[in-house]
Point group: C5
């Protein structure tokens, strides 16, 4: 049985993990989900490493909501580098689902964006886990999680 980790934060203003888990369960069955919550996005890499080490996760979703200030952008950068480091050391995917607070103008838009992106990336997780070659059908297709797809270049 495959193990899927889902890690999110108390800093986020939207509970993206619940949406992601709901989408995971709707897309496929037969796996075990392990969820953890940490204070902020900079705690995500360690949480993922611990899940890989102790819960035999095959893939992890790391959900976070960086703030809008320059220092927040720096934190997101550090968190992303840590998530990439973890993936490379472990040899497994962590799908990062970050929604920056300045990507949406209102709480309503923020919530919609966050939940949509979380669900769309949950489907990416299922694809990577159960049919690692299936995304190739959409290679170069200009997909955008959370927003409308841009589509391929049309010369």
């Amino acid at each position: 049985m495959q193990h899927i980790g889902v890690v999110d934060t108390t800093f986020s203003r939207v509970d993206m993990a619940t949406a992601a888990i709901d989408e995971l369960k709707a897309s496929h069955t037969g796996f075990k989900i392990i969820r953890r919550t940490v204070p902020g996005i900079k705690d995500l890499p360690a949480a993922c490493k611990i899940l890989f080490d102790t819960e035999q996760c095959d893939i992890i979703m790391a959900l976070g909501m960086p703030g809008a200030q320059p220092i927040d952008k720096q934190c997101a950068h550090e968190a992303s580098l840590g998530l990439i480091l973890t993936q490379v050391l472990v040899g497994k995917h962590i799908i990062e689902v970050f929604v920056h607070l300045d990507e949406a103008a209102t709480d309503k838009d923020l919530q919609k964006l966050a939940l949509t992106r979380a669900r769309e990336h949950a489907r990416n997780v299922i694809a990577l886990l159960y049919s690692p070659q299936s995304l190739t059908r959409h290679a170069g297709a200009g997909l955008r999680e959370g927003f409308e797809d841009v589509g391929p270049a049309r010369p």
Copy 2:
């Protein structure tokens, strides 16, 4: 018995570690605290690695107070990356408690912010150590250590 490391700096203008230790002891019992102090925030990653290697720490608080100049922001960035690297290599959490000198306008506000953030993160440490799933109750709740919580998005 769990071991909690607490590392801070002589560069900081507030003794956050003493407040953090006081809060740790008030929140839970039965653990051993190991405290170390280093000159600046860029010395924190090595100090944490040494505590993990030699004192069997299960989790560490790393407290620092970066300056307000661009070079200080760069130092904070480097320190944060080193703390994340350490966590990923060791597979344990380091809760970073950084208060930037330009987050507060007066010494009074700076002290209040620093001590509040240290105490609130001490409670996060207790949660991660003794009930790793307990923070999930606040997932997406928009918590902010040191400042008033922003709260979840309210569409």
Copy 3:
């Protein structure tokens, strides 16, 4: 038999991998190509590490198309650092083929640039794999993949 990995993204607006594979096959024979597609450029390092670990790849092409916004530049930076980390840990080359969305003004130019760069880097991959010293003939020659070569300095 040599194994060549080719990894691209669904975020990209041009299917560069198909062009790269076509060029690989036209330039040389006798190798096996393993292709994978991931959502975005930040997923490329893990995909490459997995290919090195599980498919015995000797070299990998990592193709991506970062967006034009500052956050996209940061993502490209993180992806590049992850690709370099992977190469250094594994001791094998990953040829990064990134085309930034703001490198071309029209979809037509974007497609042409992306396909040309992918094909020219495919030839670099063949050179590195089968005649690692052959590029020395062009050392200091001011080559530019995707654009016209600048040429050597002419004092």
Copy 4:
């Protein structure tokens, strides 16, 4: 017997290492000093790693003087990250003593700042090596190596 490494550069405009070694010897006795000089600050991480690997150093001082241009700031950033990486991998402290060329307006001020900072950090090295808990007396005291101490926040 403890081994203290001291590494500096030919790029620097002040011989900080000689001052640091003088201060080390004045502050404590019974250790062996191993000195190396490299061209620039980006060579310091490798030099430190080599000293840890081949000379059994217990702690190292890395002294450098980055230039004032943006590219120099980038070099300093890279050097610092490399020094932190080395510390975390080895599990020992490297005390970075960097003096930026734009920290002082005249050669006289530059020399004074560099020598003062080198000596003050030499005393930090002695403290970390012989009494790792001794710096805690100054935790949160707002110490500044090379400049006048700022002192603790005074609400």
Copy 5:
């Protein structure tokens, strides 16, 4: 017999490696030189790691010529971090010889700067390899490879 690696790029507009090799041979004898060429500076870290792994290099020169645009500066930053990572993991020096295209106004100046810097760093390589303590005579001397030395601070 010592092994010296020399790695350069086809992106560079000056063949610095040939000058470096000429200088190496003029400065000392009895070593073996292994030369490789890669497309761009971001390929240098992997090339160096491969040379350390497969050719028993004792030290490597990595020569490159980053472009003048912001994206080129970012590439140079990534390459430098990768070179530092490689050095720290392997415990050997890589002397980075980068000449930025905007360091010189004309092709003539660019060529002169590049060849001079390559030769001066070749002498640094000889010093590090055969007399690792010899550079200490110039510690704090304000040396500048490729440009006139600035000299020590003169209070």
